[in-house]
Amino acid sequence: MSTFVLEALLHWTAVALYIAGTIGFAYGVIFARPGKVNWALGLAASGLAVHAAGLLVRYFRVGHGPYMLKYEVLSSNAWVAVAMLLLLVWRRRSWAAIALIALPASILMMGFGLFTNPEARSLPPTLRSLWLIFHVLFNKLAVGAFILALGSAIALLRKSNGASGRWLDRLPGPEALEAYTVRFLGFGFIFWTTTIGAGAIWANQSWGRYWGWDPIETWSLVTWLAYAALLHGRLFFRLKARAVAWGTVGCFILSVLTILIFPFVFPSLHSAYFQ
């Protein structure tokens, strides 16, 4: 079996396990079966391990981390999002319902990546920098935190609309949900700031300037400003919970556009590495 086949097999196995985990979470949460949530957690964790193995095989095959192609970027983003989700659910079982949003989002991301060109590309000398690892790693962590914030915000919106149901009732109350949403946003904001900072240092090391108004740089700044405005509104100006939730959804859409869509729309230094 070639390493490419092994890598693909591991990735698709991970997808299957994530789907099984999602079904388990849905059954456990909707029918109030905590035992099934444990099963679902186990399935998703197995998927995460298999997924990690797939990424490792890829790493040894191409000789660099997952930051060169859509295939690698999306797969590794999904891995980080699932890892953060499982960490949360492991610590707070009452949050299992968030898996019904975060896990399908990760599966979609991974599935989309798997249908793109998986051809291995070598690492150009510009990308051979320690700062690249920080830049990419914190970007993925930011995506994971924003996905959790999105899940929490959607649950908050449902609850504040008066919706109820077994899976919603198992989540914390609206006040706690709102606090968690803001905290996830905060972690995402820290990671996003670190992403920009690491990228700027790396740019200065490579080209002698830490900011060049490259379109994707600028979009990342716009996203940062949007999150900063939202967090300021909540932390300092007492923005209402529903406004925070809607703001979270809006900012998430903007961050997804910045990370996954705009590099293909606007000519940028980042575009070359995502094609």
Binding site: P125, R183, F189, I190, Q205, S206, R209, T218, V222, L235
Partner: protein
């Protein structure tokens, strides 16, 4: 003691200062910057985008490309609105930073008292057997402490970092400079500004110029088997002649030189040295820089003075050696003049009699120069940004308060927790604290925590126990007002306040008065416990037997004391009542009306969420207005009730 004096921002008038930190202004600044950045990111910008991108932007559509260019959307980051928004944001940020450091300083020095916990997110009062107040006369113990105080600085650090980044960016825009030059192997960059191909100096910056000449000695190129570039290194000589020193630079590995920093870019390739000779007319010499098209294939073209265009293509081998043979094509207009694969040094005779010679194929590399003396400031800003954001979201200041006061044979424990933010997330923390206080951890907490209100050293306090945490021990003599505040705070924090006691007594009286008026004891069920219910049933029943009801009105009510004791609430009152007996059916008054004054003790007991009256006593003999009862005691079997009604007019007790 250290005294920090923060700048008072006296040069900025108060109105402007307030204006600059209002939420609407800050949001407006963020929104304007966001919109301008969005425009800048959406359209190709001068100085950022490639020339080809700009050309296609200007040529887009029939009218909207030129229109957008006329509106200045191709130079957003150099536009006046962007600079104005940046300046406004910077000044707002300065005001906010100074304000936040001042606030963080004040809060960090704040001496907390229990009254600070009136609006705490988590409060609980419970009673337990005496464990801390061992003796009857022990004074209450008050302990207030703060955890994770570092969290206070988070916002200030974050905004300071942002300010530093903006200052560094402004400095760079003014005094920074970037430059680019393409050098071939063996070529020298003289120590002059004009030697660079292009410079981008800041508004007030001098062009970049290294103090010594730089000569490109050689290049080392390596490729992956797939043909993609693996590594690029160049050797340069810095200085003149024999005094020159050899240095190496690579991609991501810059070189600091007097006058700036030198970087190696990714762009490189073979340069083709052409010599074009027309016998008796001219000799042209030209270097054509070939650029990579992928797979180690490099291409380039040149237009000669005589109008011919030369197209060249070369393949670099996997070892990174410069090519010895090239693919060449010469065109005049649309006509092909020459096509072939000449070797380096070979003389090619063209059909028109001209001669073309490939004199050499050295490598060329693109070098970038940069000078920015505020880079360290930007890096410091980035670091502070991250530290500040981390503190804001992970280190949350929490104020805690424990007050232990005597409650008869037991002690009452009041515990409160007030997080700076994200209060709902601290429920578990509060529960742990309560569990510690209920368990053996109580004494440990009292020993281990740092009291926020420390005993003041007093010259004549020799007899006072300095280690005591009692309220008296915590306060200097001049601190009596603070003691009052503490007690007021404690009262305010008490779950049953005087107002609440009044509410309970009034509710009880109005309900029972209605029960007497209607002759229906069941109406009083929501407010009385079983003991009082029995008494009321007897008293109302006696009147019903006589065909009477009692019409009563509470004229005044003064709460004189409220006390919580082992699950009971004891409320002492002074009351004034008006009573009239009425005949059932006609409603006619029977006998004279009475105006009575009582001093009462109500004993409430908790039943689920409600407080029920368990017992009522007179605390002093009642003053009864009328001299004669309207009905005579004929029921000898109920002397106690009749006797009671003599003093309380049959309503209560």
């Amino acid at each position: 003691m250290l005294s920090l004096n923060f700048p008072r921002m006296s040069r900025i008038p108060g109105v402007i200062r307030k204006f600059l930190r209002t939420p609407k202004v800050i949001f407006a600044e963020l929104a304007v910057l966001g919109v301008l950045c969005t425009l800048g990111a959406s359209f190709p910008q001068q100085g950022v985008a490639l020339e080809s991108e700009l050309r296609s932007f200007y040529a887009a559509g029939n009218w909207w490309g030129p229109l957008l260019a006329t509106l200045g959307l191709d130079r957003v980051f150099r536009s006046a609105p962007f600079l104005a928004a940046g300046c406004a944001a910077g000044i707002s940020l300065l005001v906010v930073v100074l304000e936040q450091w001042r606030r963080a300083y004040v809060l960090s020095r704040q001496r907390l008292s229990p009254s600070h916990f009136q609006n705490a997110a988590f409060r609980l009062q419970f009673e337990q057997a005496r464990r801390c107040l061992e003796k009857q006369g022990d004074a209450p113990r008050v302990l207030v402490w703060t955890e994770r105080r570092a969290g206070l600085a988070g916002s200030a650090i974050f905004h300071t970092g942002l300010l530093l980044v903006i200052v560094a960016a402004a400095w760079r825009a003014l005094f920074g400079v970037e430059a680019v030059v393409d050098l071939m192997e063996g070529e020298e960059l003289p120590p002059s500004a004009a030697a660079w191909t292009r410079q981008w100096p800041g508004l007030a910056a001098q062009p970049i110029r290294f103090e010594q000449p730089i000569k490109l000695l050689g290049m080392r190129v390596s490729h992956y088997p797939s043909g993609e570039l693996r590594d690029l290194n160049v050797r340069i000589a810095v200085g003149n002649g024999t005094a020159a020193t050899e240095r190496g630079i690579a991609v991501n590995q810059d070189l600091r030189l007097p006058g700036g920093r030198l970087f190696l870019a990714n762009e490189f390739g073979p340069a083709v040295l052409l010599e074009w000779r027309r016998e008796g007319c001219f000799t042209n010499r030209q270097a054509v820089l070939l650029t990579e098209r992928g797979g180690r294939r490099f291409e380039g073209e040149a237009t000669l003075q005589s109008g011919e265009r030369v197209f060249l293509r070369a393949q670099v081998d996997s070892a990174g050696n410069s090519p010895h043979r090239l693919e060449a094509r010469v065109m005049r207009g649309h006509g092909l003049v020459f096509s072939g694969d000449p070797a380096v040094g070979e003389l090619v005779s063209l059909a028109n009699g001209d001669n073309l010679t490939l004199c050499g194929t050295p490598f060329w590399a693109r070098l970038r120069g940069s000078r920015d003396s505020a880079v360290w400031l930007a890096y410091a800003g980035f670091a502070l940004l991250m530290v500040g954001a981390t503190l804001i979201f992970t280190v949350i200041k929490v104020d805690c308060c424990v007050v232990i006061s005597p409650a008869g044979e037991r002690e009452s424990v009041f515990v409160a927790l007030k997080p700076q933010r994200f209060a709902p997330l601290f429920e578990e923390r509060f529960q742990r604290l309560v569990l510690q206080l209920r368990g053996p951890g109580l004494k440990e907490i009292l020993r281990g925590a740092t009291p926020a209100v420390l005993p003041s050293p007093e010259p004549d306090s020799g007899e006072r126990d300095q280690a005591s945490l009692g309220v008296a021990g915590l306060l200097p003599r001049s601190g009596l007002p603070l003691l009052v505040l503490v007690l007021l705070g404690l009262t305010a924090c008490h779950p049953v306040s005087t107002e609440r006691a009044r509410e309970l007594v009034e509710r009880y009286n109005s309900t029972v008065a209605e029960a007497y008026r209607r002759g229906d004891v069941k109406l009083a069920d929501p407010v009385v416990g079983p003991n009082e219910s029995k008494k009321l049933a007897g008293l109302i029943g006696v009147r019903l037997d006589l065909g009477l009801t009692l019409d009563s009105e509470l004229l005044t009510l003064v709460i004189t004391h409220v006390e919580r004791r082992s699950g009971e609430l004891r409320v002492r009152t002074r009351e004034r009542w008006r009573y009239r007996e009425r005949r059932i059916g006609s409603g006619k008054q029977v006998g004279e009306e009475s105006l009575d004054n009582y001093e009462m003790l109500y004993v409430f007991k908790k039943a689920g969420p409600a407080w029920l009256v368990d017992e009522i006593q007179f605390t002093s003999p009642p003053e009864v207005g009328r001299k004669q009862l309207p009905w005579s005691p004929r029921h000898g079997s109920m002397p106690a009730l009749i006797e009671t009604s003599k003093v309380g007019e049959g309503r209560q007790p």
